[in-house]
């Protein structure tokens, strides 16, 4: 196991996996409490449409998936705020639209469908230096947004109280969806379209079972995401399982343990 650490491709895989897990862990507390897990799924499929568009235009898929997913995230938030439709309805519309567009782009990009499969399940070992820079950039941007944590958590707790205190809640909603979109796109390469939403939900869900405060929940989610990535990659290497799937299985295992703890010890 240890000698593999010497290979640059494995170092990149490990680093990318850990950075993505930190992104997912930090965001998952918000995703769980704001009930955004469906948004995660919808945006993952938008990312897929963006990738398909990239394959069709024979451009680097990431370059097109980024703006495409960002646009869908903002559109969902806009439609929700302007129409009074519930969020899951707005997401459902754009979810279907994205998958349909993705199918059209892929059909037109015949011959590249194999590449598209790579994006469905993702591959840590295929992470290139460019992808790593992209993940690193999004993590740095996240650090810049860290001062907003308190205001975001406040509005997550109670939107009206935050509004009464003049927190720019609407602006923050857009920022959060936009950042979610960025994090999703860079994570898609690593985890794949089908599983990326798990990164945004499971660590937070497990942490919710054990945390008594929102700060505690956030830290626990980070811890779970981080250890699931280490555990999953190790298992993936030992058993020759797909990397993204192994990490998600490790997350699910941690969630199961947290659930057993709350169910059988009264929890908290």
């Amino acid at each position: 196991m240890l000698e593999v650490l010497g290979y640059p491709f494995f170092q990149r895989a490990l680093l990318a996996g850990l950075l993505v897990s930190l992104l997912g862990g930090a965001l998952s507390a918000f995703v769980v409490q704001r009930r955004l897990s469906f948004l995660g799924d919808g945006l993952a499929h938008a990312a897929f449409a963006g990738v398909a568009l990239g394959l069709f235009l024979r451009e680097e898929p990431l370059y097109l998936a980024l703006p495409f997913t960002l646009a869908v995230a903002l559109a969902i938030t806009y439609v929700k705020e302007r129409s009074g439709l519930s969020e899951d309805t707005a997401i459902g519309v754009f979810f279907a639209l994205s998958v349909a567009l993705g199918a059209v782009f892929l059909a037109k990009a015949r011959g590249y469908v194999g590449d598209a499969m790579g994006y469905l399940f993702g591959s840590l070992l295929a992470v290139g230096p460019g992808d790593l820079w992209a993940v690193g950039g999004v993590v740095l941007l996240g650090l810049a947004l860290l001062p907003l944590w308190g205001a975001l958590a406040y509005a997550t707790f109670d939107r009206e109280l935050a509004l009464a205190d003049r927190v720019p809640v609407g602006l923050h909603d857009y920022l959060l969806s936009a950042y979610l979109a960025l994090a999703l796109v860079v994570a898609v390469k690593v985890v794949g379209v089908l599983l990326v939403a798990a990164f945004l939900v499971i660590p937070g869900a497990a942490a919710r079972l054990l945390g008594r405060t929102f700060a505690g929940m956030t830290l626990l989610a980070l811890l779970f995401a981080f250890s699931a990535t280490l555990l999953g990659l190790y298992a993936s290497f030992l058993l020759d399982w797909p990397s993204g799937a192994s990490v998600v299985l490790a997350q699910a295992l941690l969630f199961g343990l947290a659930f057993l703890k709350t169910a059988f010890s009264g929890g908290k």
Partner: protein, 246 residues
């Protein structure tokens, strides 16, 4: 200076007019009881003063246009606690959020002291480390009051703060509000359905979409005003009215 001054304040929800041409001048340091039937627009009035609902007309808070009022001037206890009951939060954290206008990641030593003191004053010290989602209605009411008071606001906007609070707690609540007011000169607007409590206020605002009466309790709570606000008062109501005033 007026603590609250509104000019032609009108709030519409679609076709429905919840408040119509409300013009008020609330003197600084007064204790205003706001009364009126269900759906009269009482909560809507407080929300307008907080900028939570769009309105036409003009609102000034301590002489400043609403948009320029400092959020820390306001202490608000909402009627309906809309918070996410699954959000992992301790009562203490909610009180600290009142000091910060943000949710605390870590509670500092000074903040903890102030928050505990505020909880103590409303008789809720033992609730500090309890999960918020599991508190009873009256317990929540006390924690929200502590949250509103901890920032030492100049203007307290209380939407039925005594609802759900036990009899002793209610007496404590009024005593405490009076003490706070004496100490700080703050202005209080309190919505209540308890006409007896309203009699202890310095001013009473009788509201039913428009201002029916505003002034000292004896005047605003006159039978004439109440009849106008609540519609025809039957025999029993008239009896109750008499009892309330005794």
């Amino acid at each position: 200076m007026w603590a609250v001054e509104t000019q032609g304040l009108t709030v519409r929800f679609g076709q429905y007019q919840a408040l119509e041409d409300v013009s008020l001048k609330v003197p600084e340091g007064s204790f205003v009881a706001v009364v009126g039937p269900n759906g009269a627009g009482k909560s809507t009035l407080l929300k307008a003063l907080l900028g939570l609902v769009p309105f036409r007309g003009e609102v000034r808070i301590f002489g400043r246009p609403l948009a320029q009022a400092d959020p820390f001037w306001f202490g608000y206890v909402p009627q309906i606690k809309t918070f996410d009951h699954t959000f992992p939060a301790l009562a203490l954290e909610l009180v600290v959020s009142g000091l910060r206008r943000a949710w605390p990641f870590r509670v500092g030593e000074k903040e903890r002291e102030r928050a505990l003191e505020a909880l103590g004053r409303v008789g809720a010290l033992e609730l500090a480390h309890r999960p918020l989602g599991r508190l009873s209605g009256g317990q929540l009411q006390r924690v929200y009051l502590a949250r509103a008071l901890v920032r030492r606001p100049r203007l307290l906007l209380l939407d039925e703060p005594a609802t759900g609070v036990d009899r002793l707690g209610e007496v404590d609540l009024y005593r405490h509000l009076e003490a706070y007011q004496e100490e700080t000169g703050a202005t209080i607007l309190m919505i209540t359905h308890d006409w007896e409590a309203a009699h202890h206020a310095s001013h009473v605002l009788v509201l039913n979409r428009r201002v029916i009466g505003f002034g000292p309790p004896e005047r605003a709570l006159s039978e004439e005003c109440l009849r106008q606000a609540f519609g025809h008062l039957g025999h029993e109501h008239a009896l109750f009215l008499g009892g309330g005033r005794a």
